[in-house]
């Protein structure tokens, strides 16, 4: 077997294990299933009446792009938690004592989590359709929207791997979730149009890739808030391209860096 072939086979064996874990631990999936549904219901029915969408339209439909984006960013925790668990329970030693390339442990987890990231997208779509969200654009535009979600899901996995190499326990991962990632998804166009935010926050929100992803999705689905202001700053004028740039940059920076950090963190 060539080493590339071995890498692919081993990655898939470890990914299959990860998928079985996901299937057999439905409670660990709440961040990808129940949580986004609760957010959709909570924001559309509790805050929905108080927020007006620029250009008019239904807040529920505006909200969907935001919660899609937020849920995808949260996807980084799936892989971080899985890695942290494997580290605390010693599973990692078993894999590292096998004649496989060490990077297959990370690639296997990544593939499993890429497949996992389909779950919230499906759940969200179903919930959205149930509460009255509709795609008003062409099939191809919508398809591009879903493609963008998938690409960004892959990118954030590497943020998760990096996270798992910086902290080692599942509790610490959760701590970072609330202190860092949670605010990032809030200071964005997730729930409210960025134009309503005050000074500095507005600038942060406009350059926040979560906003760009949310805005792209609104545009691709023909939802309220999806109109593109062509004379605005780059992230607002080209949200799709800006999101893709971020996705590529995250992978280019985080993937190699997290592999190095991860190898170092497990050396002791």
């Amino acid at each position: 077997m060539s080493s590339a072939q071995a890498f692919a086979t081993d990655t898939w064996v470890i990914a299959r294990r990860g998928i079985k874990h996901i299937r057999r631990q439905p409670e660990a999936l709440s961040d990808a299933t129940i949580q986004p549904i609760i957010f959709v219901l909570l924001f559309s029915y509790v805050f929905g009446g108080a927020i007006s969408v620029p250009g008019g339209g239904s807040y529920k439909e505006f909200l969907m792009g935001g919660i899609f984006a937020q849920t995808i960013v949260f996807g980084c925790f799936g892989v971080a938690m899985a890695l942290a668990y494997d580290r605390t329970n010693g599973a990692i030693d078993r894999f590292h004592s096998l004649p496989i390339a060490r990077s297959t442990f990370l690639s296997g987890h990544s593939v499993a989590n890429l497949i996992r990231s389909i779950i919230p997208i499906v759940f969200m779509t179903a919930t959205g359709l149930a509460i009255g969200w509709r795609v008003h654009s062409s099939f191809l535009d919508a398809l591009a929207g879903y493609g963008l979600m998938f690409v960004f899901s892959f990118a954030v996995i590497w943020i998760g791997v990096m996270l798992a190499s910086l902290v080692s326990t599942p509790e610490a991962v959760q701590g970072i979730a609330f202190v860092v990632i949670f605010p990032i998804t809030f200071i964005a166009s997730t729930f409210v149009p960025t134009s309503t935010l005050p000074g500095v926050l507005k600038t942060i929100a406009e350059w926040n890739p979560t906003s760009a992803l949310a805005n792209s999705l609104r545009h691709q689905f023909g939802n309220p808030g999806g109109a593109i202001p062509h004379d605005a700053i780059f992230p607002l004028a080209h949200p799709f391209a800006y999101t893709l740039i971020w996705a590529v940059a995250i992978v280019l920076v985080c993937a190699p860096l997290s592999v190095v950090l991860y190898q170092r963190s497990i050396k002791s």
């Binding site: 064996v13 079985k20 057999r24 599973a91 030693d93 078993r94 004649p99 050396k267 002791s268």
Partner: protein
């Protein structure tokens, strides 16, 4: 170079591993002959697990070299891992996979092909009496079953060398005995085993060679008998019926002993060189003083005594007596 005719399964020289200022391994040499069982014996924190981690390529030493199964751990880690099986300290079977899935996955990662991996998993389940639990999630296994599955997992690719880090810690006496039987049958098949243990009984029962480690150093090595010899020779051992006689008895024992007697509650112990002669004289002397005794005898040193002498601290021991039964 891979010289498969070398009689040594493990040869390590001057292994050093530091964690911060503390040296977990401080210049450890180790030779383990092919087909033998070597026990690394030592208290918690002695460096046993670190030694296993270095030799199994899980961690790199700060100094020193080692060849494991004929392969250099620094330059040829993949070949080392192909030749060994490791059962880490807490049985690292995957709780969310079934017993069969656990073993099949490892077979696949050894590149034996999916089909072969599946049948190999069934063979091992049968060998370790786990066939009934084949499709149960490993998290629902008992402690003994998990250990057996863990051990089976190390054998998937029929390695020539097994590393078992405290294989019976946390097991009840019956499960421990079962596991010892399994290990003995593996040894009969010619597998080389390096195991770590805090339990002298375990080292005594399983190992050909015992390497005593403490604070990252090897402080003694040899078979069980030679280690016992290092603890000194025979001991006179007297238990008084009444506590108030202990001082008087200690004084009398001192006349026939080769060293200072020590007392513990109603017991008096002292090293003796005279053997049977000494005990006969002691018995007579005690009879003349008309002291009532509960027990009088000549005791062989145990591995416990050896451990105490070598490390200056008593070894941990099984609480339950059933183990020896």
């Amino acid at each position: 170079m891979n010289d498969s005719t070398t009689p040594l399964a493990i040869e390590a020289y001057g292994l050093v591993k530091r964690y911060g200022p503390k040296a977990a391994l401080d210049g450890v040499d180790l030779d383990v002959a092919r087909g033998s069982v070597c026990a690394l014996l030592g208290p918690n924190g002695a460096g046993k697990t670190t030694a296993v981690r270095v030799l199994t390529t899980l961690t790199e030493p700060d100094a020193g070299t080692a060849r494991v199964a004929g392969h250099d751990i620094a330059t040829d880690p993949l070949e080392v891992r192909r030749s060994i099986g490791l059962a880490a300290q807490d049985a690292t079977v995957d709780g969310l996979l079934t017993g069969h899935e656990n073993l099949a996955m490892i077979g696949e990662l050894h590149h034996m092909g999916r089909k072969r991996a599946l049948t190999r998993a069934d063979e091992l389940l049968a060998q370790f009496s786990l066939t009934d639990a084949r499709d149960k999630l490993a998290k629902d296994y008992s402690g003994g079953m998990r250990r057996r599955l863990d051990l089976a997992a190390t054998l998937v690719a029929t390695p020539e060398l097994l590393f078992l880090d405290e294989p019976t810690t946390g097991l009840d006496p019956r499960a421990r005995n079962d596991l010892w039987d399994v290990l003995e049958s593996l040894v009969d098949e010619g597998v080389t085993i390096l195991l770590t243990t805090q339990y002298l009984e375990e080292a005594d029962r399983l190992a050909d060679d015992i390497v005593v480690v403490d604070h990252g150093h090897v402080i003694a090595r040899g078979d069980a008998r030679s280690l016992k010899r290092q603890a000194g020779g025979d001991h006179l051992h007297v238990i008084c019926a009444r506590r108030e006689d202990v001082e008087a008895v200690a004084a009398i024992v001192g006349r026939f002993a080769s060293g200072r007697p020590s007392t513990d509650d109603r017991a008096v112990t002292a090293p003796a060189e005279g053997g049977v002669q000494a005990i006969a004289q002691l018995a007579q002397a005690l009879a003349e003083e008309d002291i009532e005794l509960e027990d009088l005898g000549l005791r062989q040193p145990t591995l416990d005594d050896a451990f105490l002498t070598l490390t200056g601290a008593p070894a941990e021991s099984f609480d339950d007596e059933e183990v020896a039964a």
